[in-house]
Structures are given as C-alpha cells and as structure tokens.
C-alpha cells in the first residue's frame, strides 16, 4: 500500500468517524461499518445491519459480520477491488408468498417499502444512510400513486437476491458489479438467488 493510499484511508476514516462510523477489518479486507441502533423491526422483517460475507470453499455466503451498516465514507470505497467480501446496507426476508414467480419489480417494491418504514421508525439510521447514499430516503418513499418504486432506491445501490430463500440485501452497486472473487460470493457457480428461489 502506498503512502498516498494510506493517507486516503486515514482521511476517509476521519470523515467516517465524524459520521459515527467504525472501521472493521476482516482478514485483510477493510470496511467502514456504521454504528447503528441495532436490529430493526421492519414490517417485512427488515434488518439494519451489515453482514460482511466471507467466501470459503464450503461456506460461501455465511455471515461473519457484526451489526452496523454500509461500506463507504465520503466518496471513497475502501473495499479492495480484489476482495471476495461484500457488505450489505440493509436486508429483508420476503414473505413466502412473494416467490417464486413474482417479478423483480415487485420484490424491489417490497424491499423499498420495508426500508421506508425502517427510516420512518429510526430517523438516526435514515440520516446516516442519507449521508452515505444521497437521495435514498426519498428513493424509497411511495410515489404519487401511493406505490413504492420498482427500482433500487438510488443508482448507487442495488437489491441483491441472496442465495438464502427470500433474502434481499441492499448492496453498494460497486460491490455487486465488481469483478473478481466477490462474484463467486454473490453468485455461487454463476447463479444468483433470483434464478434459484425467485423462479419456479
């Protein structure tokens, strides 16, 4: 790591800590974890919290994580590009009657509804998320027709269908699209959750 890289991370951490983020190191990968109020009680089983996923040969996708959320501070992503790890910002368990054979658009709506209700019940969490992902609070509000958006909350995040049945995870988009080892963590053997439990 160069001196410049170290300086960037230190600067990043300064910003992060000012916003109540803590640093977490996991086997060489570094993430910034927000200090949150703990497990949330969303209508759809929503959960504030970060799971830093660990890729091992027989243990892909198992959480070794701690409570918290998010992975970025300021505009710098501190996740190493070749890391097999990714972080979640928020996660929900879909009701069993919403899969299989329910559209991705509907899943996005349900997830956005859960996150919106979490924001309404925890303004501190909402404020922290807005700092990290500007526009996310408005992005999950119901629209003029009263319906929740069928897209991700903002362009910087995406709802990921995890391997576990019914589990949707909100990820930084740059984690989801990153090439390399993390793809096998996110999509073991080249398949994502929607192609497994999302379809019949």
């Amino acid at each position: 790591m160069s001196v410049d890289d170290e300086s960037s991370i230190r600067d990043d951490l300064t910003v992060a800590k000012e916003n109540n983020f803590d640093e977490q190191r996991v086997e060489g990968a570094k993430f910034l974890i927000a200090v949150t109020t703990g497990i949330g009680g969303g209508i759809l089983g929503g959960k504030i919290g970060n799971k830093v996923f660990d890729k091992k040969d027989e243990d892909v996708g198992k959480s070794n994580g701690s409570e918290g959320n998010a992975t970025k501070a300021s505009e710098l992503t501190v996740r190493p590009a070749d890391s097999p790890y990714y972080s979640t910002v928020y996660e929900i368990k879909l009701p069993p009657n919403t899969y299989p054979n329910v559209s991705r658009q509907r899943h996005n709506q349900l997830a956005n509804e859960s996150l919106h209700k979490q924001f309404e019940s925890d303004s501190t969490f909402a404020a922290k998320m807005e700092v990290q992902y500007p526009g996310i609070v408005d992005g999950v509000k119901p629209g003029a027709r009263g319906a929740y958006s069928r897209t991700a909350p903002t362009k910087d995040v995406t709802w990921h269908h995890a391997p576990e049945k019914g589990q949707l995870e909100l990820l930084p988009i740059d984690h989801h699209t990153s090439s390399g080892a993390v793809q096998n963590t996110l999509h073991p053997e080249g398949k994502g959750g929607y192609s497994d439990w999302g379809k019949e």
């Binding site: 559209s103 991705r104 658009q105 509907r106 629209g143 319906a147 958006s149 069928r150 897209t151 991700a152 362009k155 995406t158 269908h161 988009i173 989801h176 699209t177 090439s179 793809q183 996110l186 999509h187 080249g190 398949k191 994502g192 959750g193 929607y194 192609s195 497994d196 999302g198």
Partner: protein
C-alpha cells in the same frame, strides 16, 4: 427518454438512458440483437387493469426483461461482442457472465 426498437440499438445507446427505467421485450425463445424492446419509467407509467403492468407494455404484448440499472451493469462487465449473450445470461441466471 423512452426507447422502442431493436435490442442491439438499445445496447449501443445504453449509457444515455436514465438508470431508473425498466426494459421490456417481445416474447422470445432466444434473445437476439433484433429482439424488439422498449424502455419505460414504470413508476410513472399508466397501468393496465391489473394495476401493475404498464398499459403500453400490455398493448404490445411485451414482457419484463431487465432493469436499465442491471443492463448498464451487465454491459460494464462484458465486451460489445458478448453483450446480447451476457444480457441473456443475466436474465436467466441472475449473475454476470464471466
């Protein structure tokens, strides 16, 4: 900006579209460069009687294909020669084509 035309043309122009659109296509047995597609902002679209399907989509007989956000991500993870195959793979497997 809404688009209606061939998939290959949508791919070419993908970067110019807003991320929050959804892409619909004609029913297909094998996704091809010539497959007809359209883009719609579903959150603002007029809906059909089922209260969910955009009216324009229903009238065309099109089906949900992929979000623009996912399409743009897929295209970042592949080269132009493999674009259609990579989109087809993502739609079928919910993962990026290596």
């Amino acid at each position: 900006m809404n688009f209606k035309g061939k998939l290959i043309d949508l791919i070419t122009e993908a970067d110019s579209f807003e991320w929050n659109l959804w892409i619909y296509s004609e029913p297909y047995s094998s996704l091809a460069p010539e497959t007809q597609c359209m883009t719609i902002n579903v959150d603002n679209a007029e809906l059909a009687a089922d209260g969910f399907t955009p009216l324009e989509v229903q009238e065309c007989g099109f089906e949900e294909l992929i979000s623009m956000q996912d399409l743009q991500a897929v295209l970042k993870n592949t080269n132009s020669q493999m674009a259609v195959k990579a989109i087809d793979y993502y739609v079928k497997n919910d993962a990026y084509l290596n």
